[in-house]
C-alpha cells in the first residue's frame, strides 16, 4: 500500500471559502487525519467517499481528492447511509452545517444516529446560515440578531450533543475549528469507531457571525472556559491546570484543586466508553458561563451497526433459503401445469 500523505487528499480545485473562515482549518485537519487512518487500517484512497449537503461547509468534497458527492440540502446523511449499506467496505465521511444537518436534514440526522450506521459526520456549527448570507440557524443563540431576526430570535437553539446522545449516539466529539491537533486526533478516533460518529466543529463565520464562539475561543480565556476530555484522564482544565469537575449530588460541579479541601483525587476521570449515557449527556450539555465547554471525544461506545446488521441478515437468509435464483423464485409457492 502506498504511503498516503495529506497531499494525496488535496484536490486540484481552488478552495473558495472566505479568507479566515473556520472551514479551512477543518479541511486541513481531515486531510492530515486520513493518511493516518489509512496507515492504521490499511485503507487505500479509493475507499473514501466524502458526502455533503448544501451550505458553505458542504463544498468540502470538491477540495478532497477522493470520491465525492455534493448532494442537496439536508440529505447528505441519507445519501451517506445508502452508500454505506450498498457497499460496507467503503469509508464514508460527511460534511454538513448546522442548518443542513439540524434544520432541513434533522430527520435523516437523528435516524442515522438511531440506526448507528457506520459513517463519520463532521458537523460544522457556525450558528448561522452563511451561504444564504446571514439568517439564524437552529443553533443560533436565543435572541440572536440576524437578517431574519432583526429584533432577535424567540426560539431555543439545539445543543447538537444533546440531540446526538438523545438519539443514543455511540460517538460524539466536539472541537474548535482552530484546534488542528485535537481535530486530527478526534477524526482518527471517529474513523476507528464502528457506528455513526458525530464530530461537532465550532466554526467561525467571519462574514455573518464573526466571533460567535469567542466567549470560549478567545486565547485569553480559552483554557479556563473549555475542557479537553480524553478517555481515562482526569477532567482537569484551566490555565493553571487547577480546575476540575466533580459530581455534586446529581450535577457536575466546577472545583479548584487546593481549595475547600479538594485534591486531584476528587476529580472525575473521563470514561468515554461508559455505557451510562447520563454522564456523557451532562458533559455534552455544559455551557459557558456555568461550566467549561467540553471538547474532545465525549462518548465512544461499541454497539451493533446497521450496515453490519443488513449484511449479516442477507448472508443468514441466503444460507437458509431454498431460493437462490430468480428462476427458483418464479417457481416458488403455488404454481400449476398446463399440458
Amino acid at each position: 500500500m502506498a504511503n498516503l500523505t495529506f497531499k494525496d487528499f488535496k484536490s486540484d480545485q481552488e478552495v473558495r471559502w472566505c479568507p479566515g473562515c473556520g472551514d479551512h482549518a477543518v479541511l486541513a485537519a481531515l486531510q492530515r487525519a486520513l493518511p493516518k487512518v489509512s496507515q492504521a487500517l490499511g485503507y487505500e484512497k479509493e475507499r473514501y467517499v466524502v458526502v455533503s449537503g448544501i451550505g458553505c461547509s458542504s463544498r468540502l468534497p470538491y477540495y478532497m481528492d477522493t470520491y465525492g458527492f455534493h448532494s442537496i440540502h439536508g440529505r447528505a446523511t441519507a445519501i451517506s447511509t445508502g452508500i454505506k449499506v450498498a457497499n460496507p467496505t467503503l469509508t464514508v465521511w460527511q460534511a454538513c452545517g448546522d442548518g443542513d444537518a439540524l434544520a432541513i436534514g434533522g430527520n435523516h440526522f437523528i435516524h442515522a444516529i438511531r440506526r448507528n450506521i457506520d459513517i463519520n459526520i463532521i458537523l460544522f456549527n457556525n450558528q448561522i446560515y452563511g451561504l444564504t448570507k446571514g439568517q439564524y440557524s437552529p443553533t443560533s443563540k436565543f435572541g440572536a440578531i440576524t437578517k431574519t431576526s432583526p429584533y432577535g430570535t424567540v426560539e431555543h437553539p439545539f445543543t447538537p450533543g444533546s440531540l446526538v446522545l438523545g438519539a443514543k449516539g455511540t460517538f460524539f466529539a466536539r472541537s474548535l475549528d482552530t484546534e488542528l491537533k485535537l481535530n486530527e486526533e478526534i477524526m482518527t478516533q471517529a474513523a476507528l469507531h464502528d457506528g455513526t460518529s458525530v464530530m461537532e466543529m465550532l466554526t467561525n463565520c467571519v462574514i455573518f457571525n464573526d466571533g460567535t464562539h469567542k466567549d470560549i475561543t478567545d486565547p485569553a480565556v480559552k483554557a479556563d472556559r473549555t475542557i479537553v476530555l480524553r478517555h481515562g484522564e482526569k477532567m482537569i482544565f484551566g490555565k493553571n491546570h487547577d480546575k476540575g469537575l466533580i459530581l455534586d449530588g446529581m450535577k457536575l460541579k466546577v472545583v479548584t484543586i487546593g481549595e475547600d479541601g479538594v485534591t486531584e483525587d476528587d476529580i472525575l476521570v473521563h470514561d468515554a466508553h461508559s455505557d451510562y449515557i447520563g454522564i456523557h449527556m451532562m458533559l455534552a450539555d455544559m455551557k459557558y458561563p456555568d461550566y467549561p465547554v467540553a471538547l474532545g471525544v465525549i462518548r465512544d461506545v461499541k454497539d451493533v451497526t446497521y450496515d453490519d446488521g443488513v449484511r449479516d441478515q442477507v448472508k443468514d437468509v441466503m444460507m437458509k433459503s431454498k431460493i437462490h435464483s430468480v428462476d427458483d423464485l418464479l417457481h416458488s409457492g403455488s404454481t400449476w401445469e398446463v399440458k
Binding site: 480545485q13 455534493h70 442537496i72 441519507a78 447511509t81 437458509k320 398446463v338
Partner: protein, 614 residues
C-alpha cells in the same frame, strides 16, 4: 323451477362485506382456484382506506371482483353476475354493479334492523329500495348456518363467525361448479404449522356451504366455465406489486449488481417493499427509510456506490422525492423510481386507482429535468416493465420512472412463468481502461452515439471524482458558463431521447391505417382491448395502439399516428397523455375520453365513447 347447468363463456363475481369479513381472502381463493382449474381470469380488489372502518357502514365495505372465463380475460369485468353481500351496507354499496341478470346472495342474519339502519336504508325492503328486486335473490341465513355447522367444533363464537366467508365461498363454488380440493390444500398449507385445529372446521363449513347451496331450491341455475385454451407451461397467479418486485430482482440477477431498495411505506405501493424484504436470499437489501426523501436519497447513495438502486412510492411520495430525483438526473446515476399511482391530489383516494401522475412524472421537477418514463399495462406485465426500467436505467445512466397503478399493483392474473434464459444480460457502462499518469477521469464525458456517461464506482482506483447537484462540465468541474449549461441541458435530454433506439416500436392492433386509432397507456390496456374487440364483434373495423414507453416514445410513433384521420386517447385523468401527444404531434387530430373517479374504465363506456367517434 327447472334447474339447469349452463355452460358459459365468462362470469364476474363480486364478493363484498365489512372490511373485516375476509372478502379479499375469499375473492383471492376463488381466483386462485379458478386459475388452477385453467380459466382465464382477472381480479380487482376495491377496499376502503381504513383498516377497520366503522362496522356495518357503507364506507367500511370491502370488495373483491373476480372475472373468470374460458377464453382470455383482460379486465375484472364491468358488472357482476353474482354479488355476494355479507351485510346491508355491502348490498347498498354494490347493488349498482349488478347486471340485470345477476344473482344476489346475502346473509339474511345480517339484515336485521340494526344492520339496515347502519347502512342507511329508509324502508324495510333493501332490494326494492335499491331497485334490484327483480334479480335472482338468494337470501340465506349464513351466520346461523355457520354457527350450526361448527357448534361441535369447540371454537368460540368469534372464531365461528370468522368462518362465514368459507360458508359463502362454498356456496359460490356450487354455483360455478368449482372443485373444493384446491381450497382444502390451501387451508392445510396455511394452517398446518400454527393452527392445525382450524383446518377441519374450515373444511367442514366450506363443504356445508356447498351442500346447502345444492339442497335449497333458491338457486335458479348453476354454471360451468370450461378451462381456457392455454399455452403449455407452468403458471402462477401474480399481483402487479409482486411482479414489480420480482422484475427488479430479475434485473439484479441479469446485471450482476446487488439490488438496493430504499422506501417508505405508502398505499398502494408498500407491497413491493414488503416483497423485496422477503427475498434477501437473492442479495436484495431493503431499507425502510425515515421518510420518502430518505427513501430516494439512500437509493441515490446506493446507486453511486454501484448497486441497482430502487425506490418505490405512490403519488404523494413522488412529490416528496422530486428534488432528489432532480439530483439523480444531474448526477446522471441509474435509479428506478416506481410510482404505483392512486387517486389524487394530496392524500386523495389512497386505495383507488388513477393515471393522474403522468404530468408529475414528465414535468414535476425544477429546471429542465428529463427522466425516462415506462408504464406497465397489466399485473403480470409489471415484471417486464420493472425489468426493462432497470435495464434502461443501468445502461443509459438515467433515472427511470416506472408508472404502475393501484389497479395493477393489487390486481392479479395468471402468468405463464418465463425462464430467465429468455431475458437479456444488462450491461452498465462501467468505466474501463487505465488512465494515463496525471490523467483525471472525466465523469460527464459521453458516448458519441448514446450520450451515456461512464460509471466509475467508489473503490475503483484512480477514478476518484465528484458528482452533485451543481452544473458541471464534461470533466466534472463546476461551471456556470452559459454555453456549457446550454450544452449539458441539451445532452441530458438527448440522452433520454436516444433510449428510443433501444425500445420496441409501437404496435398497431388492427389495420395500420384508417379512420380512427384508439390509443391508451398503462393499466387501461385490458379494458381498451376488450372494448376494441367488442366493437369488432359488432362487425366494425378499428385499430388500437397502446404505449408502454412514455418517454421517450417509440421511434415510429409519428408514423403510426399519421396514418389515421383521428386518434382517440383514453386515460384515467383529464387528458395528461393526450396533451403531451398534442405537444409532440401538433398535426394529429386528437380526441379524448377521460375518467377521474378513482375507478377503472368500464368496457361499455369505452365502447360507447369510441363508437361515437367512428
Amino acid at each position: 323451477m327447472q334447474h339447469k347447468v349452463i355452460d358459459t363463456k365468462d362470469v364476474v363475481i363480486r364478493f363484498a362485506g365489512d372490511s373485516g369479513d375476509g372478502m379479499q381472502l375469499t375473492g383471492s381463493l376463488f381466483a386462485d382456484m379458478s386459475a388452477i382449474y385453467g380459466n382465464g381470469l382477472s381480479t380487482f380488489p376495491d377496499y376502503p382506506a381504513e383498516i377497520r372502518a366503522p362496522h356495518g357502514t357503507v364506507s367500511g365495505v370491502s370488495g373483491f371482483q373476480v372475472h373468470i372465463g374460458s377464453g382470455d380475460i383482460n379486465t375484472p369485468g364491468d358488472f357482476c353476475d353474482l354479488l355476494v353481500a355479507m351485510n346491508p351496507a355491502a348490498l347498498k354499496a354494490n347493488a349498482k354493479w349488478c347486471k340485470p341478470t345477476a344473482m344476489i346472495l346475502v346473509d339474511e342474519d345480517a339484515f336485521d334492523q340494526a344492520g339496515m339502519t347502519k347502512a342507511g336504508f329508509q324502508t324495510e325492503n333493501p332490494f326494492t329500495e335499491l331497485h334490484v328486486e327483480d334479480r335472482a335473490l338468494i337470501v340465506a341465513p349464513i351466520t346461523t348456518l355457520t354457527e350450526e355447522s361448527l357448534k361441535d367444533s369447540g371454537m368460540d363464537a368469534k372464531a365461528i363467525h370468522k368462518c362465514k366467508n368459507m360458508f359463502t365461498l362454498g356456496m359460490a363454488c356450487y354455483i360455478y361448479s368449482r372443485p373444493l380440493e384446491y381450497i382444502y390444500q390451501y387451508l392445510e398449507r396455511k394452517f398446518s404449522k400454527k393452527h392445525p385445529e382450524v383446518i377441519e372446521p374450515n373444511k367442514k363449513v366450506l363443504n356445508d356451504g356447498f351442500n346447502y347451496a345444492a339442497n335449497i331450491q333458491a338457486i335458479p341455475n348453476t354454471y360451468t366455465i370450461e378451462p381456457a385454451p392455454q399455452k403449455k407451461g407452468t403458471y402462477r397467479n401474480i399481483t402487479g406489486n409482486q411482479a414489480t418486485a420480482w422484475g427488479l430482482l430479475a434485473a439484479s440477477e441479469k446485471s450482476h449488481l446487488p439490488l438496493f431498495c430504499g422506501s417508505y411505506p405508502i398505499t398502494p405501493a408498500t407491497a413491493i417493499l414488503e416483497e423485496l424484504a422477503i427475498h434477501k436470499s437473492l442479495g436484495a437489501k431493503t431499507l425502510q427509510a425515515e421518510d420518502e426523501i430518505a427513501g430516494i436519497c439512500t437509493a441515490i447513495g446506493a446507486s453511486y456506490a454501484g448497486n441497482l438502486a430502487v425506490t418505490t412510492t405512490s403519488g404523494p411520495g413522488l412529490s416528496l422525492k422530486s428534488e432528489a430525483l432532480g439530483l439523480a438526473v444531474m448526477a446522471e446515476l441509474p435509479l428506478v423510481v416506481v410510482d404505483v399511482q392512486r387517486g389524487g391530489p394530496s392524500t386523495g383516494l389512497p386505495t383507488k386507482t388513477e393515471q393522474t401522475d403522468l404530468g408529475q412524472a414528465l414535468y414535476g421537477r425544477n429546471g429542465e429535468c428529463p427522466v425516462a418514463i415506462v408504464a406497465a399495462h397489466s399485473p403480470a406485465n409489471c415484471f417486464d416493465a420493472a425489468f426493462n426500467s432497470a435495464k434502461i436505467a443501468l445502461e443509459h445512466m438515467t433515472p427511470v420512472l416506472l408508472l404502475t397503478e393501484g389497479f395493477l399493483g393489487n390486481g392479479s392474473e395468471p402468468w405463464l412463468i418465463p425462464s430467465m434464459s429468455e431475458y437479456p444480460e444488462i450491461k452498465p457502462p462501467f468505466a474501463t481502461g487505465v488512465l494515463a499518469e496525471g490523467e483525471k477521469f472525466k465523469p460527464f464525458e459521453r458516448d458519441a452515439e448514446t450520450f451515456v456517461r461512464q460509471w466509475a464506482v467508489p473503490g475503483m482506483k484512480g477514478f476518484e471524482h465528484r458528482v452533485g447537484g451543481l452544473e458541471k462540465n464534461h470533466a466534472g468541474v463546476l461551471s456556470t458558463d452559459p454555453a456549457n449549461h446550454a450544452l449539458m441541458v441539451a445532452e441530458r435530454e438527448a440522452k433520454v431521447q436516444k433510449i428510443a433506439d433501444f425500445i420496441p416500436e409501437l404496435k398497431v392492433d388492427g389495420p395500420e391505417s384508417g379512420k380512427l386509432l384508439v390509443v391508451g397507456w398503462g393499466g387501461t390496456y385490458g379494458h381498451l382491448l376488450s372494448a376494441v374487440n367488442t366493437i369488432r364483434e359488432a362487425g366494425k373495423e378499428i385499430s388500437f395502439a397502446h404505449f408502454d414507453y412514455i418517454k421517450p416514445m417509440p421511434k415510429n410513433t409519428a408514423e403510426v399516428l399519421s396514418k389515421f384521420e383521428k386518434v382517440i386517447v383514453c386515460e384515467l385523468n383529464s387528458g395528461q397523455f393526450v396533451n403531451y401527444l398534442r405537444g409532440e404531434f401538433p398535426k394529429v387530430d386528437f380526441k379524448q375520453y377521460n375518467k377521474v373517479q378513482g375507478q377503472p374504465f368500464l368496457v361499455q363506456e369505452l365502447v360507447d365513447a369510441i363508437t361515437k367517434e367512428m
